[in-house]
Every structure is written in structure tokens, then in C-alpha cells.
């Protein structure tokens, strides 16, 4: 607009394409990578996932000599290796909520739904893009965590664990799958709540407030109910041994997938029905 010209002409567009899902997928990927805070959060989540097990391993190694037998028995190499999963799940959940809630808070959702007025492809594309990004980051992170912590703990035979031991590879990769599912669940929550603070609070309530609240119930109730909470069911994906009143790996995993599916269905119905 710097030059005042008597007539302003819009250049014609040579090629005209149609709206298509693979294009929405690319568009959502552009959005994901083009906000600086998103990139940094993912990077920080990646680093913390690795940093925690490494720090934990060094602390364990240096204190091992002075630890009591019961303390030593309480240390499990897999817990150490996957200590980062707890940190990662929080970062991934917050970002999952933000990916959609920020569109509402900034108003960019209006642009998004003007380009894709059927709306649902946007939800599928966001879920798919995010799931892939989280997996691509978190699988290397848990593998690095496992091998790095084992290398640091190599001098302590009690804490030695081989990747080829039964269930170990499943638990390590299960931790990554768990974090990915947390991201999906959080994104769906964000789409339902459409508000950053509300979305994060809802997630935190389900994952961090509800489980301890269950202990206020009579023990038999708690035992029966707690294992079906999203967080407790999902955690079975990276548990090596199963304590009493917990689901098996696959049942727990499926229950958590069920929660994710339910959240996605609700999000999809609301996305189509509600005004923007």
C-alpha cells in the first residue's frame, strides 16, 4: 500500500487446487512448527525427558554405598530410566491443549475454519500431526534415557537391566506410546474446553487430582475404581510388573485408548455443532 496507484490489480492465481486432507495435514504441520513457543516447549520436553533419568542415575550411583538394603530394594532401573515420562507427559499435555485453545484465544480459529469450513479435517490433522511429532521426539528420548541410565548405573549389578529382557523393550516403548496418548487426550480436551487455562485445569484434574482423591473412598471402592482412571490405566503401558488392583498392560492400554477415543468423539461432535 506504499505506492498510490490509480488502479490496484489483484494478480490472478494460475493454479487452483481443491481442499484436501493431505493439504490440511501439511497446513497444520506448518502451524505447529511456526510458533516459537511450541518449538521450544517440545525441545524442552525432549531434553527434560532425558535429563531426569540421567540426574536420577548419577544421584543413585553416588549414594548407593550409603543406602540401606530396603532403599536399595526400592530402586528399580526401569523407574529410573522412565523418570522423564512423568515430566514429558505434563509438557506434552499442556502443548496438546494449547494447539487448539490458542486458536480460540487468538481468533486464528476463524481463519482456520474459513479455509476448512467442514472443520473435522482440522481436528484429525491436528491429532495426527501432533501424535507423530510427539512419537518422533519421545521414542528416541526414552531409548536414550534407558541406555544412558544403564551406562551410568553399570557399576551396580543389582540395577542392571538388558533391553532384551522380557517386557523391558515393551515397557520402554510403552512409555513413549503413553506420552503420545496423553498428547492426544489433552488435544481433545482442549478442543472440548476451547480455553487454555480451562483445558490445562481439566487435564490436571483428571490426571493429578482425581487419583489421590480416590484414596478417600473406602479401600474396596478405591481398589475397584482407581485402576480404571485414565492415568492409572495408561501407566500400565510402561509398568514392568503389575501390582495388585492394576490392569494388565494391554487392558490398561486399551482402556486409556478408549478414554482418548471418547474425548475425540465428544470434541468432534462439539466442533461441528458449536458456533466459532
Amino acid at each position: 500500500m506504499s505506492a498510490v496507484t490509480p488502479s490496484v490489480k489483484l494478480p490472478r492465481l494460475a493454479v487452483t487446487g481443491r481442499l484436501a486432507f493431505h493439504r490440511v495435514l501439511l497446513s497444520e504441520w506448518t502451524k505447529l512448527r511456526s510458533v516459537r513457543s511450541t518449538k521450544w516447549s517440545l525441545f524442552a520436553g525432549f531434553l527434560l525427558t532425558i535429563a531426569f533419568p540421567i540426574i536420577f542415575s548419577f544421584v543413585t550411583r553416588s549414594h548407593w554405598g550409603s543406602m540401606s538394603a530396603s532403599d536399595r530394594a526400592g530402586r528399580h532401573p526401569l523407574d529410573i530410566a522412565l523418570a522423564g515420562v512423568n515430566v514429558a507427559q505434563l509438557a506434552v499435555a499442556v502443548l496438546g491443549v494449547l494447539l487448539i485453545s490458542a486458536e480460540y484465544s487468538t481468533g486464528s480459529i476463524r481463519s482456520t475454519f474459513t479455509a476448512v469450513p467442514k472443520r473435522l479435517p482440522v481436528l484429525w490433522a491436528k491429532l495426527l500431526d501432533y501424535a507423530v511429532v510427539v512419537l518422533v521426539l519421545i521414542v528416541p528420548a526414552v531409548l536414550i534415557s534407558f541406555f544412558a541410565s544403564q551406562a551410568i548405573l553399570s557399576s551396580i549389578s543389582q540395577l542392571h537391566m538388558s533391553f532384551s529382557q522380557p517386557g523391558v523393550a515393551r515397557a520402554v516403548l510403552g512409555g513413549a506410546v503413553y506420552v503420545m496418548l496423553v498428547g492426544i487426550f489433552a488435544l481433545a480436551i482442549g478442543a472440548i474446553v476451547r480455553n487454555t487455562a480451562g483445558g490445562i485445569a481439566t487435564f490436571a484434574a483428571i490426571f493429578f487430582v482425581l487419583p489421590p482423591l480416590m484414596f478417600t473412598l473406602p479401600t474396596s471402592w478405591n481398589n475397584a475404581i482407581s485402576q480404571y482412571l485414565p492415568s492409572n490405566a495408561g501407566r500400565q503401558l510402561f509398568a514392568l510388573q503389575h501390582a495388585s488392583h492394576t490392569l494388565t498392560t494391554w487392558t490398561g492400554g486399551l482402556v486409556f485408548v478408549g478414554y482418548c477415543a471418547a474425548a475425540i468423539v465428544i470434541a468432534a461432535i462439539l466442533l461441528v455443532r458449536r458456533d466459532v
Partner: protein
């Protein structure tokens, strides 16, 4: 072409759009006028399918907006509310939208140059001024080379140069045969830009007319007359529905008579006239006259509620 039939939208108890029916034709600039809060933005959201109508229907180029296979090639829209992620650059914002339709990157750069955002295209759009945000919105609206261009208050925040640019752009787009639908609460702006007007007040259609007819219909008969013998002229012209207002330098503003009536009466009485000019009400005045009743009604309602 935009066609609305009995378009109605309620938000809770409040009826924002009330039985609107109109057609926006291609090839001309159609101004969408109404005071703030009269339902212009809501109507545009209904056209884009961002909000669902409570009743009635609206189609763009023959279909509901959402049913088009390439929506961005059908309608390019600038909404009044900000529609950009503040953490994303203008370039990436446009790129993400372009990618949904397979529009090439070169088009994004082309539009950024067209609206003069080249220098700041890689900066986070949250740092943009109102005018820069508006230009980005215009680039977004034109990205898909759309058949229909719909802009909500496009000159908001633009400097005089930008406003001039916008007028030329809109006229050019209409001349190419596109449908151009532009909302504004500034009548003077529409007088310079629009060919046709759709006027609403409190969600209802007040007028659907050409700009010329609109002014003619809404303006009162006012004649400016200059004469060495104004006193006698006053007496001659006095009659029911005729009022006078003193104008500058020995001139008189006669309300309620046409130039013919004033001229004939003066000739009949042998009064010399030095000037006889029909005064056209400005579009602003015409609009005020038309919407005054609606606004007064709204004010009364508010008082009644309070």
C-alpha cells in the same frame, strides 16, 4: 453472488440478525451499512458458516459455503475480529492457509508484496499495528483469487493512503466481475466506494438500493437560494411544511420545496435570484435519517429494560 433468505440468528435471548433477505450481485461494490452492533459482522459469520443460523439460509455462489470443494477460491473474507495467531508470522499464517488448498508459496509472497507487508512478513504478527493487521487480513482475503470478496470494516486502522488504495482495489475487483461485499459504519466511505447498498439496523433490512436512490430517498428537499430581496422571498415562499434556515452571505436554505417551486414562485413575484441550488443530503445524513428510528427504538428498549 451472495443470497440470504430469512436469515436469522439468536444469541440467547438476543436476536442479532432478524429475517434478513438480500442478494449481493457480482460486478459491483455492495456496501453493507449499519450502525455498530446492527448485525453486520454476525451476518458475515453466517455467510461463512462460522455460526449456524437459527432460521433461514444463506448461500455463496449457489451453495452453502461449507459445501464448496475449494472454499478459498469462492470467498475471500476479512473478518472484523482478529483472526491470526499472535505468535505466528504473517508469512506462516498465510502459508498455512494457502497449503489447505495447494496454493503455492509464490502466491503468499505475491500477496504480501501487494499489501506492502514485505518488511515485516517474518515478524510475529502479535507485534503488528492495527493497520498492519488489517493489511494482513486483506492479503488473506485475496489469497485464493476468490470469486467473492467479503470485507468487514476494511478501512479500519488504515491511513489515508491505505484507504485510497482500498477503494481502488475494491472497484478493480468488482470491475473484474467479482462479487464485492464490504461492511462499514461510515457512510461517507461507502459513498466513495459502493455502487449498491444494503442497510441494516438492529438486524433488520432497512434498505436494499443503489447509492443514488438511497440518498435521494432519504434526503429531504433542500434548496439554497441567494437573492438581494430575501425578506420578500421568505414571505412568498412561506407555506405549510416549508421552513427556512439562514445560510452564509445573504443566502437562504429553504426546506420542503424543490428548485422548480422556488424558482417559479420567485419569478411570479418578480424577485431576482442570484443563486438557486439543490442541496443533496450527504450519505451520512441520509443514513442517520433512515436509522434514527431504529436507534431510538433500541435506546427506548434499553431504558425499559433498565
Amino acid at each position: 453472488m451472495i443470497e440470504a433468505r430469512d436469515l436469522t440468528k439468536d444469541y440467547g435471548d438476543k436476536r442479532a440478525v432478524d429475517g434478513l433477505g438480500f442478494t449481493v450481485q457480482p460486478g459491483v461494490v455492495t456496501g453493507f451499512l449499519g450502525p455498530n452492533g446492527s448485525g453486520k459482522s454476525t451476518t458475515m459469520r453466517l455467510i461463512l458458516g462460522l455460526d449456524a443460523p437459527t432460521k433461514g439460509d444463506v448461500t455463496v455462489n449457489g451453495r452453502h459455503y461449507r459445501d464448496h470443494v475449494a472454499p478459498l477460491h469462492e470467498v475471500g473474507a476479512l473478518l472484523e475480529a482478529r483472526s491470526v495467531h499472535t505468535g505466528r508470522s504473517a508469512y506462516n499464517h498465510l502459508l498455512a492457509l494457502a497449503q489447505t488448498h495447494g496454493i503455492p508459496k509464490s502466491r503468499v509472497s505475491e500477496l504480501i508484496d501487494l499489501v506492502g507487508l514485505h518488511e515485516v512478513a517474518r515478524k510475529r504478527s502479535g507485534q503488528f499495528s492495527l493497520g498492519m493487521g488489517q493489511r494482513l487480513g486483506i492479503a488473506q482475503a485475496l489469497l485464493g483469487d476468490p470469486k467473492t470478496v467479503m470485507l468487514d470494516e476494511p478501512v479500519n486502522g488504515l491511513d489515508p493512503e491505505g484507504i485510497h488504495w482500498m477503494r481502488n482495489l475494491l472497484k478493480g475487483l468488482a470491475a473484474e466481475g467479482r462479487t464485492v461485499f464490504v461492511s462499514s459504519h461510515l457512510m461517507s466511505e461507502m459513498a466513495l466506494t459502493a455502487d449498491h447498498l444494503i442497510v441494516i439496523g438492529r438486524g433488520k433490512l432497512i434498505a436494499d438500493t443503489s447509492v443514488d436512490d438511497f440518498v435521494a430517498r432519504a434526503s429531504q428537499k433542500v434548496v439554497l437560494v441567494r437573492s438581494p430581496d430575501l425578506e420578500r422571498l421568505r414571505t412568498v415562499l412561506t407555506g405549510p411544511g416549508v421552513t427556512f434556515e439562514d445560510a452564509q452571505r445573504g443566502a437562504l436554505e429553504v426546506h420542503g420545496l424543490t428548485t422548480e417551486q422556488v424558482g417559479d414562485a420567485a419569478a411570479g413575484a418578480g424577485i431576482a435570484l442570484h443563486e438557486l441550488t439543490p442541496q443533496q443530503a450527504s450519505l451520512e445524513e441520509a443514513f442517520m435519517n433512515l436509522t434514527r428510528d431504529e436507534l431510538e427504538f433500541a435506546a427506548e428498549m434499553e431504558e425499559a429494560v433498565a
